[in-house]
Amino acid sequence: MAIRFLLAVWVGKWTQTLLHLLGKNATSLPGKIALRLAPDVIARLGRQLERCVVVTGTNGKTTTANLLSSMLKQTGPQITNAEGANLQQGLTSALLADTTWFGRLRKKSAVFEIDEATLPLVAKHLPIRVLAVTNVFRDQLDRYGELDTTLEKIMAGLNQTEAVAVLNGDDPLARHIGRQSGNRSVYFGMSRSMARAEVRDQMRDGAFCLSCGHELRYDGFFYGQLGLYVCPACDFFRPLPDFEGTMVNQRLEVRQGSLPTVVYDVPVRGMFNLYNELCAIATARMCGLTADQISAGLRRFATPLGRMQVYATSPVSILNLIKNPTGCDGVLQAIASEPGPKVLCIAINDQAADGRDVSWLWDADFELVPEQLDAVHCVTTGMRAEDMALRLKYAGYDTTHIHCDPELSSGIHHAFTLAAERGGLPVYIIATYTALYPAAEILNRKVDHDEPAPLHRASVS
């Protein structure tokens, strides 16, 4: 078996080297090949680790894991799957990149984001000390009818470890994991002062108690199903957060028990990213990091591509990835929470990596655009620009302010022209996967050629 293992390592590493030489993405294929040659490659590499920290959940895995890895790097080198390849082959590829030709790991500590369904398959092979669950979104689960299976998979994974679970206490579904699991759990959550009285109806439908089935009562909402919930029929309620976050003057105050409150920078934008940051801080704390180490990690953090990523174009632009209705709604809400008028540019492609079927555009909450987003113009672009324009029309957006141009480059340029004509409004670009990279290139070129704009902008309210 050792021979097969070494063969898998060699072939995997050669594949990695080859892909790098070709300038190709090597986050998945090398691991896939290695796993085929030796299915126990994760177990053999994993047992060489001394500590592994894992992030799972429906949304925010990549950002949270990247924030966390930036913090943990203050304590020593970390193996990570930073590009978000979070299935078995992605984990294997990340491990192989830090493996010698003799099958020895060079680093002893790892931060991984792991897909919910992959977690129970790999949990027993990794020395997971802390496991964070960002959130478990019900509307996505309902869509696939897999509510119970996803929760069960996370719990099945957690139960194979002795990890401390760091859970989103504002999310009733994540809270359920804490109540069912035998592992020690700590909760993070926002302070009551940040809750809003009402939230859009469609975002919270189906918030039922998982213990008794009764409809949950909410005293306030943060976003989606996240809020101050309590079951009127049983003893299921939102726990008092062990790590409580409050946004004060564009910075995040974190209160942890009776310890002094610590104020952190916010290198990310949007309410959902604030949760990701709070989750990462709580997890880092459970790993034993000091507030200074966490702050240093936050300062060194670079926003991953397309996660409310700011470009110093003129006018300023912010790029976001959308790929499913839940994620899209989070992005739209984040943009809506940024004050002032803006230009919105939506790039929709329908290649294999995006999904050939764009039906999901009709499940996403584009009604937010006319109702709350304050977009004075909308440009729709990409291969399905016309479908997107139609979606905005039926969402109730004024059609005279829609400009439709399927060609990505001229569509984006038109958005900048409209923004400049209006005195330099910010341009928010949201794009599906295959439109994201070309959009980023266009924005990078605009940064090089245009006068840079000041980056001091109001962040989330």
Binding site: R356, W362, Y394
Partner: protein, 240 residues
């Protein structure tokens, strides 16, 4: 006589796999733009719709398991459904909802999930799934475009909704897609079926207004964006 068009969306909690919301939204907006009052009732799973309260019923798509559940509920009122359909109740059924209108849906293991038996139609699970962009020519509604994704092969002895220009249709064999019977429209072209096919949307609305006895004309709308999306799909996704 009520001057409000009442639409029932059946079991959105079970059958809402493919953006049925887009179809409802299209119907509602196209009535609102013409100043016709409309009310949509979402009928949740477990409860039975009072068919006499509605002028248009929408049945969406779901997975096999959910579809079987819905079938069971609906079958208890089969005779009422049959009477309503024969009386001309407009019914738009997509994917799973479409399959439910027939005698049965035969699963890969041979089990037959009984349907509502409103149509002389049956469906047998097949492999591979029939997935992709589709365009059909419909005698009543012109070209209809969209996306299909179904394992079932459906055959029936009624008129089809249209004839396949590109794509698979009912069974991938006979070049037929969907079904037309009385005021029923059944199809595998899933959401968003209606936004890009305004003629079909207005066809359903016309049937429903007549059934409701509402004396309102369907004035032409500014459909340039709808037509642009329809045409772009035909040229770029179907190829002429």
């Amino acid at each position: 006589m009520s001057q409000r068009l009442c639409i029932a969306h059946l079991y959105p909690d079970l059958l809402n796999l493919y953006a049925d919301k887009g179809n409802i939204l299209t119907l509602v907006r196209r009535l609102e733009w013409r100043g016709i009052e409309v009310e949509v009732t979402e009928v949740p799973s477990g409860s039975e719709p009072r068919l006499q309260d509605y002028h248009l019923v929408l049945l969406g798509g779901g997975s096999d398991r959910e579809q079987a559940l819905v079938g069971q509920t609906l079958r208890t009122k089969r005779s009422e459904w049959q009477a309503a359909v024969e009386d001309g109740l407009p019914l738009l059924a997509v994917c799973g909802g479409y399959q439910l209108l027939g005698h049965f849906y035969q699963l890969p293991d041979g089990t037959k999930v009984p349907g509502l038996e409103l149509l002389d139609l049956e469906t047998v699970a097949g492999s591979p799934r029939l997935i992709g962009n589709i365009a059909i020519d419909s005698p009543e509604c012109g070209t209809i475009v969209g996306f299909e994704n179904h394992g079932g092969r459906t055959t029936h002895r009624h008129a089809p909704l249209g004839f396949v220009r590109q794509g698979h249709g009912n069974n991938g064999q006979d070049k037929q897609e969907g079904v037309r019977y009385k005021n029923i429209v059944g199809t595998y072209i899933h959401g968003p079926l209606l936004p890009k096919n305004p003629r079909l949307a207005d066809f359903m609305l016309g049937l429903s207004l007549a059934y409701a006895g509402i004396n309102a004309a369907l004035e032409p709308l500014d459909d340039r964006m709808e037509e642009a999306a329809h045409e772009a799909f035909l040229t770029r996704r179907i190829g002429g």
